[in-house]
């Protein structure tokens, strides 16, 4: 206990959940600082802020939203592969509500009328989110009452979700012109509007998990479901909540993503984003497969790391398609930071005395 009394405690810092994600983000930004001129320049045009950093924030909003939900699911010891497919379903539902011309011959495709929407705005927002939450409920039911491995249970929706999304819009892309909806992903209030939504979602998630005992329940279920059961925590309800919340977050991500491109695109909406989200959570230090302690903030930073890598590659001039390769290499290097070997090494240089204490 001598160590923790000292004013500048390396060990405490390195043990923190936030240490690795922030280190990773710092490494990438440092790389940008050295390699790319003007990467950090932020300009002020027409009352809005622009720049690479703002780009990273703006483009990462869907992944942040996904990562928040995914954190809870992974903390319960599960994983949700279907979030990308849920985004596609949400995209189709929302577009259909605004412009349901694919359903009937009497309806005309709306061209360029930002004031028209078939359903009122609150329905356009609410119904997709409800659908997304029901998708989450389906996953949760399979995992809890079906006792199916999470990876497998959510795989089903991952496979068929995109097909369902195509069915909803009769495999057509629906363009969206409705002004208020387009504003979600494209509006600016000094900062991109979607950032405020995600910040709100993050605050909500933090309040729900940390100001009530739900967060504690989630962690305890993740660490040991059986002993939580014995201490009176209904493991099934906790997991059900996590998956439903994850579906809800995927719904928000889907709305933002759809608004971003102003089109319902069942084929590519959220494609591979579940992988980004999972990696964001893993970079955030929540253990995939193990579950247990989680940190929402660390996951958010993880999502920013993922996006920072992409944006930096664009800034260097790597072509859009080749980015995947670079991203793969960077991610595996970041993940290696968590490996036992590296952890031991860091422990060796920061907390040698403590190590000896525990050994003796």
């Amino acid at each position: 206990m001598r160590q923790s009394r000292s004013s500048f405690d390396w060990r405490k810092i390195t043990e923190s959940k936030l240490f690795f994600p922030i280190t990773a983000l710092a490494l990438i930004l440092l790389f940008d600082l050295i390699i790319i001129p003007n990467f950090f320049r932020i300009t002020f045009q027409q009352g809005h802020l622009y720049g690479n950093l703002i780009d990273i924030l703006r483009n990462s909003t869907p992944v942040i939203a996904l990562a928040i939900g995914m954190t809870l699911v992974i903390a319960t010891g599960g994983v949700d592969l279907s979030v990308g497919a849920i985004m596609a379903i949400v995209s189709s539902v929302a577009a259909l509500l605004m412009n349901p011309f694919v359903l009937g011959t009497q309806l005309q495709a709306i061209k360029n009328d930002p004031t028209y929407s078939y359903s009122p705005f609150w329905v356009v927002l609410l119904l997709p989110l409800i659908v997304a939450t029901i998708c989450g409920l389906w996953n949760g039911l399979l995992v809890t009452y079906g006792k199916i491995q999470p990876m497998v249970a959510t795989l089903i929706l991952m496979i068929s979700g995109r097909g369902i999304a195509q069915l909803i819009t009769n495999s057509q892309k629906i363009q969206i012109f409705y002004g208020p909806f387009v504003y979600i992903g494209n509006g600016w209030l000094l900062l991109p509007f979607s950032l405020y939504i995600v910040a709100f979602l993050c605050a909500l998630a933090w309040l729900v998990t940390r100001r009530t005992s739900i967060g504690l329940f989630v962690e305890s279920v993740g660490i040991n479901a059986r002993s939580s059961l014995f201490s009176g925590i209904d493991e099934k309800k906790v997991k059900l909540f996590a998956y439903m919340f994850c579906g809800f977050c995927a719904g928000i991500a889907g709305l933002i993503g759809t608004s971003n491109i102003s089109t319902s695109d069942a084929t590519s909406m959220g494609l591979n984003l579940e992988l980004d989200a999972i990696l964001a959570v893993v970079i955030g230090g929540t253990l995939l497969g193990g579950g247990g302690r989680f940190s929402l903030l660390a996951s958010v930073i993880g999502a920013l790391v993922m996006q920072a890598v992409t944006t930096s590659m664009y800034a260097i001039g790597v072509s859009a398609n080749s980015i995947l390769a670079v991203k793969g290499v960077v991610v595996i290097l970041l993940i290696l930071l968590y490996s036992q070997q590296v952890q031991d090494f860091i422990r060796k240089i920061t907390g040698q005395t403590r190590m000896k204490e525990t050994q003796s």
């Binding site: 995109r162 369902i164 072509s319 290696l336």
Partner: protein, 523 residues
């Protein structure tokens, strides 16, 4: 009687998923054959194999990985990389055999690296192989952003050669039931993998690793089994299989591009599950992989032949069948626990049963809807069948050819029942007529000459190119192409959506689409 049947089932419950798969396959095929006359052809059955050698090898490798308790998402990435890299190397004149060997080595090396990361650096299989997928696909795009066509004679030969089935074919005319060389190689891999999994020490070690959420791996380690080596080898073998799948796919499509094998890992994992392997590991049969693949391809084929259902039904059906099998497996797993601990689990068992019946009901409903559409000919499903098929205009095409055109090309049908007739003249003039409007376009005479020699090089005037017409499906196109070149003239018609047309035909229509003018879509 029931008692003894129950005992029999519970004694052999490990075989239950795989037998269910096999039975489902044959039932589905029989139902299809009753309602879709096109499926009664022997060749359509063999085409299930001809279309799937790449999927089969990939699923074999993945099955072993899953049995060992891991998962490999990198299949699609390695397929994309090997196909693109081989197409690029062939383009600069490498020997095809060297290319194939190099690609196999590349895939194997990638598998080994991922295995090393997973085993020794303790990276989650999910993450290590996911980054493997990204690296593979990213490198493929780095090599080329576009599709590279393969003209290498060996690849052409491998694609075209038909291994005729004795008794079902005529050796002299080379017509009849056949499989491709890729299928033969895939079958060899299949047999080798079965031998490896069930009759070698390596195989038994793989089985001992999976299951019981990692605890079995611990026990295997304590027993002194070579756990680390086996794990690395399993991923290495899957890398090899993925590379082989990439080669097969580049032979099948005669091209390489970064998009090949997109979301293939999903299909592969679904096929593994349908094939009766538990994703928790430790249980499953390589033998089931074959039927997992066949069911997946069968669903595709049925939807293709039926014609009016949108292809997205494939995904939904595969998803539901996967659900069904997962439900089945989890019930079996529970039966086992039930026997061990008795009544305490009975509630969970009841939940399982509710789930199975619920899931089964969903599957039945969807299959019923599916069958309903098939029976009704899908007349209410999409607007595609609402349009009137226009008559063919062959006499008009003949008069075009008489008027000096070197190519007359008619495209008829599709979702909107279009009927486009193009005439291409040697001076580069292209005229198009779709019944309601006429368009013209001028290209250089060189372009026409290049097109003609390309078509001629495809073997247009040889017996390799032949007319194959089956009844077109609801949204398929029928193509009539007449070509006159260097004193020879020949007309060949084909219907897409089928598998009986020479694949070079589609290489040709692909060339047309780059040169022909486009009609404005009908209002």
């Amino acid at each position: 009687m029931m008692q003894s049947f129950g005992t029999f089932v519970s004694r052999n419950r490990r075989l239950l998923p795989v037998s269910a798969t096999i039975i489902l396959f044959f039932i589905a095929y029989a139902v299809g054959a009753v309602y879709l006359p096109g499926m009664r052809d022997t060749q359509v059955f063999l085409n299930l194999f001809n279309q799937s050698p790449y999927l089969l090898v990939a699923v074999i490798g993945e099955t072993l990985v899953v049995i060992s308790g891991g998962i490999d998402l990198s299949v699609g990435g390695i397929v994309a990389l090997t196909s693109t890299a081989s197409a690029a190397l062939l383009r600069i004149g490498w020997s095809p055999w060297a290319v194939m060997l190099l690609m196999l080595a590349l895939g194997t090396a990638m598998g080994a690296i991922m295995g090393y990361f997973i085993t020794y650096l303790k990276v989650q299989p999910f993450i290590a192989t996911l980054t493997g997928m990204w690296v593979g696909r990213g490198l493929a795009y780095t090599i080329s952003n576009e599709s590279i066509a393969i003209y290498d004679p060996i690849y052409v030969l491998l694609q075209r050669t038909k291994i005729l089935i004795p008794g079902l074919s005529d050796v002299v005319t080379q017509k009849g039931a056949y499989i491709t060389p890729s299928v033969a190689v895939a079958m060899i891999v299949f047999v080798v993998a079965i031998y490896m999994a069930h009759y070698t020490r390596f195989g038994r070690t793989i089985y001992s690793l999976g299951g019981n959420s990692g605890a079995n791996e611990q026990s295997a380690r304590l027993m002194g089994l070579p756990v680390n080596r086996t794990k690395v080898l399993v991923y290495t073998f899957n890398g090899f299989c993925s590379a082989l799948a990439g080669i097969f796919l580049s032979i099948y499509t005669r091209s390489g591009q970064g998009l090949l094998g997109n979301t293939m890992e999903l299909t592969v994992i679904a096929a593994v599950v349908i094939g009766g392997t538990t994703l928790a590991g430790g249980e499953g049969y390589v033998f089931g992989a074959l039927f997992g693949v066949l069911i997946t391809i069968l669903i595709q084929t049925m939807i293709q032949i039926q014609g009016t259902l949108i292809t997205w039904w494939t995904l939904i059906t595969v998803g539901l069948i996967t659900l069904f099998f997962i439900g089945l497996q989890s019930i079996i797993a529970n039966l086992k626990i039930g026997q061990a601990t008795g009544a305490t689990i009975s509630r969970a068992k009841r939940n399982q049963q509710v789930l199975l019946y619920g899931g089964g009901a969903v599957v039945v409903v969807v299959l019923a809807v599916f069958a309903f559409y098939i029976l009704k000919g899908g007349s209410s499903s999409t607007k595609s069948s609402a349009c009137q098929l226009k008559p063919f205009r062959q006499d008009q095409a003949v008069s075009l050819m008489k008027g000096g055109a070197v190519i007359a090309y008619e495209r008829n049908g599709g979702a909107n029942c279009i009927d486009e007739l193009y005439g291409i003249y040697p001076d580069g003039r292209i005229v198009g007529d779709n019944g309601t409007q006429k368009i013209e376009k001028q290209v250089t005479p060189q372009q026409v000459e290049t097109l003609l020699s390309f078509i001629s090089n495809l073997g247009w005037f040889t017996d390799n190119m032949y007319t194959a017409s089956h009844v077109p499906c609801g949204v398929c196109y029928t193509y009539f192409t007449s070509v006159a070149y260097k004193g020879q003239a020949k007309t060949i018609s084909c219907v897409d959506g089928g598998t009986d047309c020479p694949s070079e035909y589609w290489l040709m229509t692909g060339q047309f689409s780059t040169i022909l003018p486009k009609f404005a879509p009908a209002p």
